[in-house]
């Protein structure tokens, strides 16, 4: 069930809010709705989610009764990662890495359960943190299950650490202010997804869908730039919707994106992009590997390894692995001295370098195959003329508007200017600021409502053909 579907917006969400606010035992309500949410999309694979929860909870119970044990922590980790590996990576490793089997062969039952990377990582972070003594384990299965399976962040993040919600799971007070912030963030996220990402997807999908041999330099760049906008607004949109829903429920989920496309080096880009995942890898992979404490070579190796793994986390394909290595390589190069040079360089040049590196990275990320990625990248680099008519078809006025909005909102320009304008108008008071935000939210919601409902148009196409 997507947050942008009529079923979620007009049935699931109001039912949830009604039950959540009218009845007590709010964690049980969250859990029940979250299980239904997952059961709705994945059927009995919900048992896998509950299994992951059970592993985390049993580990916690062990720690409560016997104290931390490295063996038990490893057992929990192997079980969680084994599940993830089987469902997400077995087919890739067997077929593409070890080159076993033919094209018609797949691992039996190796379906990819939606959100598996997110809930397994949440379960793992719980295990790691309670083992290290960073947080007290939860006694209640309900609390652990609520934390791991909470529907707002279940399928697309952010990856919430147990520590950031542990207290709120026990005690939280929901005020109208929380609801206002939640509604505002949800509507902003919905608009990012429906009004910008989905429009840019028309261009990106259209152009990445054609034979790369037919691309020109113009269409290759159009494809890459459209996807650059699409992936950011799609992902950030989902994250904002999740954070907004969290606020409505009285939780504060961490910010997941912070205008990554304004970054002036790749290191900074990764401090702003999918922050919850980057910090997860930093804390649970990079630091345990030694971080930057074991000399330069080990630091570079660790950085590279972390990004290789993070590439694999995004998907079981060579394109993702290479995308991770590509970013890892740039991080190492920046550590080797490029970052210092960029710091002394004129800002727009540093920004351009970062943006172009990110755009080429997205080509690798988006392409269905490695040859396709290389073809598109080649067309972007080597001037290639030809027929641009694909671009005409995949870039109407609405898409130009979406692209303009993408440029405007990818930077923090609007945010800064609106704060300044509200200050100039004397609207800094909480009441006026809220009124402005809620008006914006209402307008965005109505615009998105039109898009959500329109997306259900499905005429029978063969009526004359």
């Amino acid at each position: 069930m997507l947050f942008t579907s009529p079923l979620f917006l007009f049935m699931f969400l109001p039912s949830f809010l009604l039950c959540y606010f009218l009845f007590g035992r709010r964690n049980i309500i969250i859990l029940a709705f979250s299980i239904f949410f997952y059961f709705f999309g994945e059927g009995w694979i919900v048992l896998l989610l509950l299994g992951s929860v059970l592993i985390a909870w049993l580990h916690g119970i062990w720690v409560i009764k016997n104290g931390p044990s490295l063996k038990v922590m490893w057992a929990a980790t192997v079980l969680q990662l084994g599940t993830l590996f089987y469902f997400k990576y077995s087919d890739f490793f067997v077929r593409d890495v070890f080159l076993i089997g033919d094209a018609s062969w797949t691992w039996p039952e190796a379906l990819l359960p939606i959100g598996i990377s997110f809930f397994i990582f949440q379960g793992l972070s719980y295990s790691f943190d309670i083992h290290r003594g960073k947080h007290k384990p939860a006694k209640s299965f309900i609390d652990v299950a609520t934390y791991v399976s909470m529907f707002p962040q279940l399928i697309a993040g952010p990856i919430v650490r147990y520590g950031s919600v542990a207290k709120q799971l026990q005690s939280r007070t929901i005020r109208t202010g929380n609801l206002n912030i939640g509604i505002y963030l949800f509507c902003v996220g919905l608009a990012q997804k429906m009004l910008i990402a989905n429009k840019l997807a028309v261009t990106a999908d259209g152009l990445f869908g054609i034979d790369p041999a037919l691309l020109t330099t113009t269409t290759a760049w159009a494809a890459a730039l459209a996807y650059t906008g699409q992936i950011y607004f799609d992902f950030a949109g989902y994250s904002n919707m999740a954070i907004g829903l969290g606020f409505m429920m009285g939780f504060r989920f961490p910010k997941n994106f912070n205008h990554p496309y304004v970054a002036k080096n790749i290191t900074d880009f990764w401090r702003r992009w999918h922050i919850s995942m980057t910090s997860w890898f930093r804390d649970y992979v990079y630091f345990p590997l030694g971080g930057n404490r074991k000399g330069n070579f080990m630091t570079y190796r660790n950085l590279f390894l972390v990004f290789l793994v993070s590439g694999l986390w995004h998907g079981a394909a060579w394109t993702f692995v290479l995308w991770g290595m590509y970013h890892g390589a740039f991080l190492v190069i920046e550590r080797l001295g490029l970052k210092n040079i960029l710091a002394k360089t004129w800002g727009p040049i540093a920004w351009l370098y970062t943006f172009v590196v990110a755009v080429f990275g997205w080509v690798l990320f988006r392409a269905d195959t490695l040859p396709q990625a290389l073809d598109v990248a080649k067309k972007m680099i080597i001037p290639t003329g030809g027929d641009n008519s694909y671009f005409y078809l995949h870039s109407g006025m609405e898409i130009w508007i979406a692209m303009a909005l993408a440029v405007l909102f990818a930077s923090n320009f609007v945010e800064r200017q609106s704060i300044r304008a509200m200050g100039a108008l004397g609207w800094r008071s909480k009441g006026k600021a809220t009124a402005v935000k809620m008006t914006v939210a209402l307008v965005l919601f109505l615009l998105c409502l039109i898009e959500v409902m329109s997306s259900t148009y499905n005429p029978f196409i063969y009526f004359r053909f």
Partner: protein, 399 residues
């Protein structure tokens, strides 16, 4: 403690109620209007009893999701308004391969089936550029002759009758967003200078019928070949057969409607896919007045030897049209693509018995089987008809 203050509870309840309005109004929404508009049966509510949900949760919930999509209150009105707005303001049709213009003109620019799409403006390129080149015409003629040899093996006269379609009739109405080279190329195709004229010169033995002059003349009338249609509608179909009958001296049926056509709704076309506008207005005549008896499921028998050897396949379904008012005893067959249904009864009115075959609807092996293992080609006239002849693969099953 997990508390919510009273105002937050009240706020949440109001918010829930407002959000639930589209769902609560499902019973009151006009679903039949949407069903008619989208030309399909809307998804039915799945069986939501616990047993069926638990036994097949994914299937049940997918159907429930589709049901809500189809029935959500206000959805139909929002869709119509939004599509109209996008079309009027942005020229956006919602389908990449249908381009539109503000005055309602719509053009399908590439084959409808994804697998046969090669370039974005494939139709226009084919009709206005490729077809006008001699090399393409020579290759085309090879295929035409191959199909003619097969079709005429019982002695039938074969005419290749082509429908001039919108790229050649209203190139001035191509949207500005489309590359100008296409409208320029299409404007250069005239009754004196076109691929059919060239192909007649290259091979005078092939009979081509292509009333481009008559169509271009009348296309200024927006009701002749409505500009929101990819397929022809109404008066253009009647004109085609009138010109055809005059050229080849076939007697009109006494039931052929006299007098001017009448302005009326003539059906739907690509506008339905775009979801804009109302039913297409065109100038049309009463088709039923021709009195043609149409059997859509006629089982044409395969020859005895074949049927005996293959008892499971003894016939192929074709459309058979019988004309009680025929002025002759002639039989005919017409092979068409999707443009055929609009003209087949007018065509059938010229003969006593007519068969209509759409190779795109019957699968290729069956068409080949029918032509090879039956006497369906034992007719007086065989007509192969396709818009502008810009789709050579159409001839493949006939070769």
């Amino acid at each position: 403690m997990r508390k919510a203050n009273k105002s937050a509870i009240l706020y949440a309840v109001i918010l829930s109620a407002v959000l639930a309005i589209p769902a609560l109004t499902i019973p009151r929404a006009d679903h039949s209007a949407r069903q008619k508009w989208e030309n399909r049966k809307l998804t039915e509510l799945p069986d939501l009893n616990l047993k069926s949900v638990l036994s097949s949760p994914k299937e049940t919930f997918v159907q429930l999701d589709d049901y809500v999509d189809d029935h959500i209150g206000g959805g139909f009105q929002v869709i119509k308004a939004r599509r109209k707005f996008y079309f009027d303001v942005f020229n956006a049709t919602g389908d990449t391969y249908i381009v539109g213009k503000n005055d309602g003109a719509l053009f399908l620019t590439s084959p409808f089936q994804q697998k046969t799409r090669k370039t974005p403006f494939q139709w226009w390129e084919n009709v206005c550029d490729k077809l006008q080149r001699e090399g393409y015409q020579i290759n085309y003629l090879k295929r035409v002759n191959k199909s003619k040899k097969n079709i005429s093996r019982y002695g039938a006269r074969v005419i290749y009758a082509s429908v001039p379609s919108t790229p050649l009739l209203i190139p001035d109405q191509f949207p500005k967003s489309a590359p100008a080279k296409y409208s320029e190329a299409c404007r250069k195709v005239t009754p004196e200078n076109n691929h059919i004229v060239d192909m007649r010169k290259l091979d005078p033995d092939v009979e081509f019928f292509y009333p481009l002059g008559a169509f271009q003349e009348k296309a200024k009338d927006p009701y002749f070949y409505p500009n929101s249609a990819y397929h022809w509608q109404g008066e253009s179909t009647w004109t085609f057969i009138e010109e055809f009958a005059r050229k080849y001296n076939f007697d009109f049926s006494p039931k052929w409607p006299a007098g001017p056509c009448e302005y009326q709704n003539v059906g739907w076309d690509i506008g339905k896919l775009v979801g804009v506008g109302d039913e297409i207005k065109g100038c049309d005549r009463d088709l039923s007045s021709l009195g043609i008896i149409v059997d859509e499921k006629f089982q044409y028998p395969l020859n005895e030897a074949y049927a005996k050897a293959h008892p499971k396949k003894t016939s192929i379904t074709v459309v058979k049209m019988t004309n009680p008012h025929a002025q002759n005893d002639m039989s005919a067959i017409i092979f068409t693509n999707s443009f055929g249904p609009a003209v087949r009864q007018q065509y059938a009115s010229l003969f006593k018995t007519t068969y209509h075959i759409r190779p795109g609807i019957i699968n290729t092996p069956d068409v080949k089987l029918l032509l090879r293992e039956s006497d369906i080609l034992d007719v007086d006239l065989a007509t192969v008809s396709i818009a502008d002849f810009h789709y050579p693969n159409f001839l493949a099953p006939l070769e």
